[in-house]
């Protein structure tokens, strides 16, 4: 028997539900000074820590005082579809207003691959959003990793798929792309915020950053098809700047909101 085998027994002992210690465990404890010491410590702990009656009464009156029926939040799948619907509806509206380049404008047929990366990023962000809205969900990839992976994948896709040094000044139309990209991203942020508010926001700054990145992806998607500069330096510098600026803005706004006290719960007064 190893020290790690003793772990379950320690927990049960703390909760006051321990079974008698088996022979093998007793033999291990006799030979292992740290386990023996921990066993002695655990056995001395009081099991029962009753909650003060007054506190339970206060909580009960607080809960029962405003008890109304509430429907459960929509399923994970429906929430993901909602975010994706918002993403593509906004992108289509922006295409309709701004127009799309003819496909001949792309010197290399790279647009389907970049569109695939953008769509994949949107799906990953929608799943991450949906998981963040529902506490206690099983999470396989932590949301900050998703954020980083989407931003890096987009940057790498541009670097590897868009031709370099196609001529022309790469800074000339840069501010134009960034400006219009962010103009598309702003209503996107509002739409995603409204969708996210249907759940609970436990980590506002992470949610703000995710929201900003996803809104920025809408802007980047639109600019990818509306921008005539099919050149890697321009796109890496200015098109990647749209989701990154969205991420930074979302994180900053959420941080400011927290400092100013928005979004938190109000301070209660004891009756």
């Amino acid at each position: 028997m190893k020290c790690s085998d003793m772990e379950q027994w320690f927990g049960e002992s703390l909760r006051g539900v321990q079974a008698p210690l088996p022979k093998e465990a007793l033999e291990h404890v006799a030979d292992c000074p740290p386990c023996k010491a921990l066993l002695e410590v655990v056995e001395q702990q009081p099991h029962d820590r009753p909650i003060p009656e007054d506190l339970e009464r206060r909580i009960r009156s607080q809960v029962l005082g405003s008890l109304t029926p509430v429907p459960s939040i929509r399923s994970h799948f429906q929430r993901v579809l909602g975010f994706l619907g918002g993403f593509f509806a906004l992108a289509l509206a922006a295409f309709w207003i701004m127009g799309i380049n003819p496909m001949e404008a792309f010197s290399v047929p790279n647009w389907p691959w970049i569109a695939l990366v953008l769509a994949g990023g949107a799906v990953a962000m929608a799943i991450s959003f949906s998981l963040q809205m529902e506490p206690g969900r099983r999470i396989l990839i932590p949301p900050p990793v998703v954020l980083l992976a989407v931003a890096v994948a987009y940057g790498l896709a541009l670097m590897s798929l868009v031709p370099w040094n196609e001529g022309g000044s790469w800074t000339e139309f840069g501010p134009w792309c960034l400006k219009y990209g962010l103009m598309v991203a702003t209503p996107g942020a509002a739409v995603f915020w409204l969708l996210a508010r249907r759940g609970v926001i436990l980590r506002p700054m992470l949610m703000g950053a995710s929201l900003g990145l996803m809104a920025g992806l809408v802007g980047a998607t639109v600019m990818h098809f509306a921008c005539l500069m099919n050149e890697a330096r321009h796109q890496v510098a200015w098109h990647t700047a749209i989701p990154v600026a969205g991420l930074v803005a979302g994180y900053s706004v959420a941080g400011l909101g927290r400092v100013l006290g928005f979004g938190g719960t109000r301070r209660r007064t004891k009756p």
Partner: protein, 193 residues
């Protein structure tokens, strides 16, 4: 070879208590007073035990439990049956604790110190036999390891439930728990209590 006498903690075995909590939670969402009262009765001591070790005073612990309930109440629509209830509760509770701690630290930074008697820290009833206090030992652990150990051992949640509550993977929870144990053993071994 001998069979393992102490089975490893189950990963996702449903327990009767869990089913009851799920039923109570459904009733709570439907504004059933009996379910809400029973849920408060069952969950409050668990929350109190979990938070008592992470708040400086008894009054802070009570405030924290009340704050948790306020948040649970506001977020009750985000529970989706038949998901396990405890990970949902603890995911909200641990963020409530972090927010309250942060808010208090922010407020303390602005306050001007005045002469007053500090409130005595929350102390559990003295143990029957004098010896090292386990919870003092736990205070020596990093916050994330202490939190995982409290959920696993004091609250009795499974690895899967703790992983859900802390938004991490089962592997990460196992790793934190083992590191916490290693440190506890080290502390006991060196007599640093």
């Amino acid at each position: 070879m001998l069979a393992d006498p102490i089975p490893a903690p189950s990963v996702a075995e449903p327990r009767p208590e869990e089913d009851l909590l799920t039923d109570l939670m459904i009733g709570y969402q439907q504004a059933d007073e009996k379910s809400a009262t029973e849920l408060v009765r069952r969950l409050s001591p668990i929350l109190f035990r979990f938070l008592a070790r992470q708040a400086p005073t008894r009054s802070d612990t009570e405030d924290l439990v009340q704050e948790c309930w306020l948040r649970l109440h506001r977020a009750r629509h985000t529970y989706r049956p038949p998901a396990p209830v405890l990970p949902w509760v603890f995911a909200i509770a641990r963020h409530a604790r972090i927010d309250v701690y942060r808010r208090r630290r922010h407020a303390l930074a602005r306050e001007i110190a005045v002469e007053m008697l500090p409130e005595p820290p929350y102390k559990a009833p003295p143990p029957a036999v004098q010896g090292p206090d386990l919870f003092k030992l736990l205070d020596e652990l990093p916050a994330s390891q202490r939190e995982v150990l409290l959920m696993l051992k004091v609250t009795g949640m499974s690895l899967e439930e703790v992983a859900r509550a802390t938004s991490t993977t089962v592997g990460a929870v196992k790793q934190k728990a083992h590191r916490a144990y290693d440190k506890l053993f080290l502390l006991l071994d060196t007599g640093k209590t």
